[in-house]
């Protein structure tokens, strides 16, 4: 009997400020999907954009309700990527691993429910044994670099993100992501679970640049969807004032980590 390799259903989760969402963010999903499909092992079944909550305290971060609305507008035309507001609605900033766990619970629940439905329906002789779905964190190479910022990540969280879930990291060229993995013992140990996708197009568009252009009254057309541009204009987001928001504040993950006992390197 021939054993067909069943592809693992895969959901990609992108956490970030999305301040605002740009074409580049949406490209990440497209590139990641193509890459994971080409491994022959995965079937990407969904993508989730999870904007960070206002409690993150990053400078220039506009209210979550706007960031969610803009992401929704941007993804209107996508048939597989959606926006989720759970993380943004939490009272305090949520660690990435907590968001991953939350979404994975949902992915599993849905999988169990559809399996039950299939097994209960009449006329099916063979039970569908689709592999258990996975959820991986989708990010850019700059995100990978944050793992080495002191006090930003808990070691056990890095272990869980890389080990239990896995990363799909899209980089815009350069060997930085490989080096990043190489220079971290934890990431190295889980290198088989870290998929590095190279984007050959040199595209330095970033939300920071988009905000800069908006402050200066310059065009951002073709960098972000038209609907998002209209929303920004209607609500007059992204001004010099909005960029000063949270100025001088400590990023929430750093203050939160400082409150907890830090694991020493001797452990």
């Amino acid at each position: 009997m021939r054993m067909a390799i069943r592809r693992v259903p895969l959901v990609l989760l992108a956490c970030g400020s999305f301040n605002p969402i740009t074409n580049q963010h949406m490209r990440l999903f497209e590139l990641a999907r193509d890459h994971m499909h080409s491994t022959g092992l995965y079937q990407v079944v969904g993508g989730i954009v999870s904007p960070v909550s206002d409690g993150y305290g990053k400078q220039g971060l506009v209210e979550a309700k706007h960031r969610i609305a803009m992401a929704k507008l941007a993804l209107q035309s996508s048939n597989w990527v959606t926006v989720d507001k759970w993380e943004s609605q939490q009272p305090d900033w949520t660690e990435t691993v907590v968001t991953l766990r939350y979404h994975y619970d949902h992915v599993l629940k849905e999988y169990e429910q559809s399996r039950e439905k299939h097994n209960n329906s009449s006329g099916n002789s063979t039970p569908l044994s689709s592999p258990t779905p996975q959820l991986k964190l989708l990010c850019g190479a700059d995100f990978l670099n944050t793992f080495k910022v002191p006090g930003l990540w808990r070691d056990d969280h890095v272990e869980e993100v890389a080990g239990r879930f896995g990363l799909v990291c899209v980089s815009r060229g350069g060997l930085q992501p490989e080096r990043c993995v190489h220079e971290s013992d934890t990431l190295s140990r889980h290198r088989h679970n870290i998929y590095l996708v190279r984007e050959w197009v040199r595209n330095e568009t970033s939300a920071t640049e988009v905000r800069r252009a908006l402050r200066r009254g310059l065009s951002v057309k073709y960098l972000i969807p038209d609907a998002v541009i209209e929303y920004i204009q209607q609500h007059n987001l992204y001004t010099e004032d909005s960029e000063r928001r949270n100025e001088g504040m400590v990023l929430r993950p750093l203050s939160k980590q400082a409150q907890q006992p830090v694991k020493s390197l001797d452990d």
């Binding site: 074409n23 490209r27 497209e30 330095e204 057309k221």
Partner: protein
């Protein structure tokens, strides 16, 4: 009310647009922002002019598709338009000829303009004077100006033997103007400095630095398509759908004109050898 020191500008981009990408569209936006920021210009229109099939570039698909994709891409723009005059010519045309054609059209439109303009009569007089002066090398300040919009690679292609006629370069930069979008890795100022002709007309060459590199080349897009990869968010959605619907850009389409000489090279080599 606009001061009379502000020159109206129309930007003309010539190229393969094989296919059009968000990068092409960004160039227009960057150019407009840059020119208007100087306080001396008001950009009133952008024109995309796709090259004809007779250009014989490798991988160039039919003009009808390239023009249609450009139309779809600019549907939602209130100032960028597509013109198919160049692409419908049977022979390849030098860029200078295309510039000339569009400039003449521009002048003709101005004469028939029914703008609500309180100085209509004075304007008409000025336009007639401009039209008479159009054969001279004089740079007009009153009438609308046509500028060629391009990347730094096009500027630097002025130096490739047999690709451009010197008198054409002189006409484009001398009588009209150039808006050149450059990014890290290019040094258009150096190139201008090293060319006596360009240096002479340096005031007509506007270099716009693209600080945020957005290198979505059509070559890359075609490659991705050949390999069945997604090009979403690199081009407008409507163009992506069009490409899918018509199954454009395959390994075969990329081989088109593979063993044919590029039209300008053929023309000038033929001319120089005769």
């Amino acid at each position: 009310m606009e001061g009379q020191n502000i020159t109206r500008v129309v930007l003309l981009a010539c190229g393969s647009f094989n296919p059009i990408t968000n990068m092409h569209l960004r160039m227009f936006e960057l150019a407009r922002d840059h020119l208007e920021d100087t306080g001396q210009y008001r950009v009133v229109k952008g024109i995309i002019s796709a090259v004809g099939d007779s250009y014989k570039k490798k991988g160039l698909i039919e003009a009808c598709h390239r023009v249609e994709m450009a139309r779809l891409a600019t549907e939602k723009s209130d100032w960028i338009t597509v013109d198919s005059w160049e692409s419908s010519q049977s022979e390849w045309l030098e860029t200078a000829k295309v510039v000339r054609h569009h400039y003449e059209e521009l002048l003709a439109t101005q004469q028939n303009n029914d703008d609500v303009d309180t100085v209509k009569c004075a304007k008409k007089r000025r336009i007639q004077e401009d039209y008479i002066e159009s054969t001279s090398q004089y740079k007009r300040r009153d009438g609308p100006q046509l500028m060629l919009l391009c990347g730094a690679d096009v500027l630097e292609s002025f130096g490739i033997p047999n690709l451009w006629k010197q008198e054409d370069i002189a006409e484009i930069v001398g009588r009209h103007g150039l808006v050149c979008i450059s990014r890290c890795g290019n040094d258009p100022h150096k190139f201008i400095h090293q060319s006596d002709m360009l240096w002479k007309y340096r005031k007509n060459i506007h270099v716009v630095h693209e600080w945020v590199t957005n290198d979505i080349s059509a070559t890359h897009v075609r490659r991705a398509l050949r390999r069945g990869r997604s090009v979403r968010y690199l081009l407008p959605d409507s163009v992506v759908y069009y490409i899918q619907e018509h199954s454009l850009y395959s390994a075969e389409s990329e081989q088109k004109n593979a063993d044919v000489v590029l039209a300008p090279i053929e023309r000038y080599l033929g001319a120089s050898s005769s």
